[in-house]
Amino acid sequence: MASWNSLEVLKLLIISSMKNQKAITKDQVKHLAKLANLKLTDKELEKLLPQFTSVVDFVSKVQSLNTKNIPETSQVTGLENIFREDLIDKNRMFTQDEALSNAKKTYKGYFEVDAIFEE
């Protein structure tokens, strides 16, 4: 099928230009999942690892870009100094009901979650 072939060609060409396969460990992925607040089981982590590794390898391509003396671009608007005045925006403020309207658990006007122990 024509469509499949062209993607395959592209993929092979790009992968062939990728450098050393970086070894990402299961511990690394576990740590990332923790940072990202994703509760992944051991099994899920194992399944994720090979695909994640290949994706990382793919994007590692950027390392071969020559960026000497090139600054980073974080925003393309060129805008600066955009502010709002210190006024109350009544139109956007929610009533308590509106604020709580999508929560699963609320209690006397508060959002409720299982106890968090700080110690």
Binding site: A2, S3, W4, S6, L7, V9, L10, K11, L13, I14, I15, S17, V29, L32, A33, L35, A36, N37, L38, K39, L40, L48, Q51, F52, S54, V55, V56, F58, V59, S60, K61, V62, Q63, L65, T67, I70, P71, E72, T73, S74, Q75, V76, T77, L79, I82, R84, R92, F94, E98, A99, S101, N102, A103, K104, F111, V113
Partner: protein, 490 residues
């Protein structure tokens, strides 16, 4: 003409008339409504008729509004219509389910936002509503914008009206499928790395990715905050111009929205385009591009030449790095944007994220994490600067860049979603979004199997007017955009 023929034709007239309403351009609809040739109610009924007949085959929607409620609204519009109304007044539209719409569910096609009913409206949505248009549905998509096929979701894939064993494209797939199959008069989509242009080109409709900051992002669930753009999807460039007129303009609620004045996008559509230069990057037309797509675009180039446009070969040497740069920055920002979904104030548990989304969150977290930030995120942002330079250089040699939208036609269901790298590569021609440049996607042909082929015109910042002009002129001399999927003729 024999009387019985006349009688037969007269009998057919309403049927013929009704059958043609949604085929009309938005301008034609607007004037028809003012002249009372037909009503909003009739248009809406036509939409629902199509939805009821076809949508089960396409799965274009996450929420369809209650038919009776919508008809009621249409009647209200019919009763209140005046000559001073906006052109969109009383027209039914659909909107990607990433836009907050008060009172109706906003799910981004993910179970994480199941049952979420937003208490506020997105700015762009408000503007369209204030113009008098009528919402009829929220559309299915790739959840969170993560995809190029509208398969990455909890609602099932959006199928392509031209071949239901194929995807409609993504992430604004529902929009494209619905507009293409005439279930609505226009749609509001969102493009971060091709999300308007990809499904537009795979479903044979017209879609505009605006300059970053041209339209307000307030109220649209973000994928990549510094790439996301809100844009129109419709049957033609002319229609897109009309819709953009209402959408565009600075919003005090979005600090990144542009204060640049909004021109009259429809005014200069008729301008001649002879003398303009279109650049065709040689890297795009080499390896990896489906030969049928290549020849369609080359044919389009010839047609442009007939209009007096000059075609020039240009170069984007860094093209192959685009996907990597796009994904590194994109996943970094999305990993942060998705952090708010902790099921405390709204939504469901994070375990509801799909595998594809989890992969993106992880990649973004990795790129930003201590020890990797410089080599990945920072490096990619430098790459972004290189791309801006490169596209600026290319655009200094031409008025717009003529590029394919996709390297292949719509894929079979399952193809992209099951191969992460292939999935990423589908963005190869549409991932220049880190530069912020606008791009108009237009139908330009079909392959031998009858699948639509699209092309895109990329311009300098804030040159939507020029792109729409070029697009409109092309659509005056071709009729690809008028073709309808065989599915709906049955």
């Amino acid at each position: 003409m024999p009387r019985k023929h006349i009688k037969a034709i007269l009998k057919l007239m309403p049927y013929l008339k009704n059958k043609m309403l949604i085929d009309k351009s938005l301008t034609e609809l607007a004037s028809g409504l003012i002249n009372k040739e037909f009503s909003s109610e009739e248009i809406v009924k036509e939409c629902f008729d199509k939805i009821e007949k076809i949508n089960s085959k396409l799965n274009a929607f996450t929420t369809v509004l209650d038919k009776d409620e919508v008809i009621k609204k249409a009647r209200e519009k019919d009763n209140k219509r005046t000559e001073n109304n906006n052109s969109l007044y009383g027209l039914p539209f659909i909107i990607k389910d990433s836009y907050n719409t008060r009172g109706f569910p906003t799910t981004v096609a993910s179970n994480v936002l199941k049952n979420y009913i937003s208490p506020y409206d997105a700015t762009v949505y408000s503007r369209i509503l204030n113009a008098g248009a009528i919402l009829i549905a929220k559309t299915n998509m790739d959840a969170w914008g993560h995809g190029a096929s509208s398969e990455n979701n909890d609602y099932g894939p959006v199928r392509n009206p031209w071949d239901t064993s194929r995807v409609a494209g993504g992430s604004s797939g529902g929009n494209a499928a619905a507009i293409s199959s005439r279930m609505t008069t226009f749609g509001i989509g969102e493009d971060t790395g091709g999300s308007i242009r990809n499904p537009s080109s795979w479903c044979n409709i017209t879609g505009l990715k605006v300059t970053y900051g041209r339209t307000s992002r307030y109220g649209c669930v973000p994928y990549v905050s510094s790439f996301d753009t809100m844009g129109p999807m419709a049957k033609s460039a002319e229609d897109c111009a009309l819709i953009l007129q209402t959408m565009a303009g600075q919003d005090p609620l979005d600090a990144t929205s542009s204060p640049k004045a909004v021109p009259d996008y429809s005014k200069n559509l008729q301008n001649r385009i002879s003398g303009l230069v279109l650049g065709m990057p040689k890297e795009c037309y080499a390896k990896g591009l489906d030969p049928e797509i290549k020849s369609s675009i080359e044919k389009a180039a010839e047609q442009f030449q007939q209009l007096g446009v000059k075609i020039k070969e240009i170069s984007i040497p860094l093209l192959d790095y685009g996907v990597a740069v796009y994904y590194l920055i994109g996943t970094s920002e999305t990993s942060s944007n998705l952090a708010r979904y902790d099921a405390v104030r709204y939504g469901q548990d994070r375990s509801n994220f799909t595998k594809e989304t989890i992969r993106r969150i992880m990649l973004g977290t990795y790129a930003l994490s201590a020890g990797y930030y410089d080599a990945y995120y920072r490096k990619a942002q430098k790459g972004r600067t290189l791309f801006i330079k490169e596209y600026n250089k290319a655009l200094s040699e031409c008025d717009a860049i003529l590029m394919p939208v996709e390297p292949m036609v719509a894929t079979k269901i399952g193809e992209l979603i099951n191969d992460p790298i292939q999935n990423m590569l589908a963005d190869i021609y549409t991932c220049q979004t880190p530069t912020g440049l606008p791009s108009l996607a237009l139908p330009c042909g079909f392959n031998q199997s009858g699948m639509p082929i699209g092309m895109q015109l990329i311009g300098k910042m804030f040159t939507e007017e020029k792109l729409l002009n070029i697009g409109h002129q092309y659509q005056q001399m071709t009729d690809w955009h008028k073709r309808k999927p065989p599915l709906i003729e049955k």
